[in-house]
C-alpha cells in the first residue's frame, strides 16, 4: 500500500454550507466546537460555538454528545 492509502480526508463543509446549516438548525441537535486557544476565541468566534481547545479535547470529549452531528473549526 502507498502512504496516502493509510489516510482518509476529514469530512469538511465550506463556510457557506456551515452558515446555512447553523442558520436553519436547532443548537440542541448539533455540537459546534471551536478548538482554538482561548485568546483566539475571545478575538472572535462563530456565534454559539463552544470553546474546547485542541489540547484539552481528549480530556473533555465527554462534554459532547457523540450521537449529534459535530462541526469543529
Amino acid at each position: 500500500m502507498g502512504i496516502i492509502d493509510y489516510f482518509k480526508p476529514v469530512e469538511t463543509m465550506t463556510a457557506e454550507e456551515a452558515r446555512k446549516f447553523l442558520q436553519g438548525g436547532d443548537p440542541r441537535e448539533y455540537n459546534l466546537i471551536d478548538v482554538r486557544q482561548p485568546g483566539e476565541y475571545e478575538q472572535g468566534h462563530i456565534p454559539g460555538a463552544r470553546l474546547i481547545p485542541l489540547a484539552e479535547l481528549p480530556g473533555r470529549i465527554t462534554e459532547l454528545d457523540p450521537n449529534k452531528l459535530t462541526i469543529a473549526y
Binding site: I3, Y6, F7, V10, T12, P38, G39, L54, L64, Y73
Partner: protein, 194 residues
C-alpha cells in the same frame, strides 16, 4: 480525534474562522485521518509510524532553521529530539514483532512509496508543509504543528487498538501519551504568542 472517540458525524469547516469571516487566505495543509484495514500487519503499521516520525523530525528540523523566534526554536529542538526517540522505540518494537531489527530496506520494503522524510503526520507532504510555512507568522505555524501532533496522537490511539499483544499496545500507548504532551506544549506556547 472525535471520530476515533466514536463520534458519528464530524465535519470541519474548510478554511476555519477565516473563511467564515470571508477571508480567503489559503488554508494550511490538511492532515488526513489515519485509516487501516484489517489486513494491515503490525510490522507495516510500525514501519508507517517510523516513516511519519522521520518526516515530522525533518519538518521540525527545517522549520527550526527558518523561524527566528527563540521560544519556538527551543520547542522545536525538543520536538526534533523527541521524534528521534520515537523512531528508536518503533525500531525496538519492530524487532520484538518480527524477531529481527529493521534492515537496510526498512521501511520501503513494507510501504510501497516510502521515502523517509517525504511524509509526516496526517499523510501531509513535508515539502508542501515547509513551502506553506514560508512567510507565515508564528501563530499560523504553531496551529499547523498542533494539527500534526493531533493527527499523530490519533494515529497512535488507533494503532494501540489495532495491534495485539500487551507489549505492542504499551509502546503505542506511551507514544500517544507523548504526542498529547507535545500538543499541550504547543498550545501553551501559542497562548503566549497570541
Amino acid at each position: 480525534m472525535l471520530q476515533t472517540a466514536g463520534f458519528a458525524t464530524v465535519h470541519s469547516i474548510l478554511g476555519g474562522i477565516r473563511a467564515w469571516e470571508g477571508l480567503t487566505t489559503p488554508g494550511q495543509p490538511e492532515a488526513g485521518m489515519a485509516f487501516f484495514t484489517m489486513a494491515a500487519r503490525a510490522e507495516e503499521l510500525t514501519a508507517l509510524a517510523w516513516l511519519l516520525e522521520e518526516g515530522s523530525r525533518r519538518f521540525y528540523e527545517e522549520a527550526q532553521r527558518s523561524l527566528k523566534d527563540s521560544d519556538v526554536q527551543k520547542l522545536l529542538s525538543g520536538l526534533v529530539t523527541a521524534e528521534g526517540h520515537h523512531k528508536a522505540s518503533l525500531e525496538n518494537l519492530y524487532q520484538n514483532i518480527t524477531g529481527s531489527p529493521p534492515g537496510k530496506g526498512f521501511p520501503s520494503s513494507l510501504l510501497s512509496d516510502a521515502t523517509p522524510g517525504d511524509y509526516m503526520e496526517g499523510g501531509v507532504r513535508v515539502s508542501e508543509a515547509l513551502a506553506w510555512v514560508i512567510g507565515k507568522n508564528i501563530q499560523a505555524f504553531l496551529e499547523l504543528a498542533m494539527s500534526l501532533e493531533t493527527a499523530s496522537y490519533d494515529l497512535y490511539i488507533k494503532m494501540e487498538r489495532r495491534v495485539e499483544g500487551e507489549n505492542s499496545k504499551r509502546v503505542f500507548s506511551v507514544l500517544s501519551g507523548e504526542e498529547k504532551k507535545h500538543l499541550e506544549s504547543l498550545a501553551s506556547l501559542l497562548d503566549r504568542k497570541i
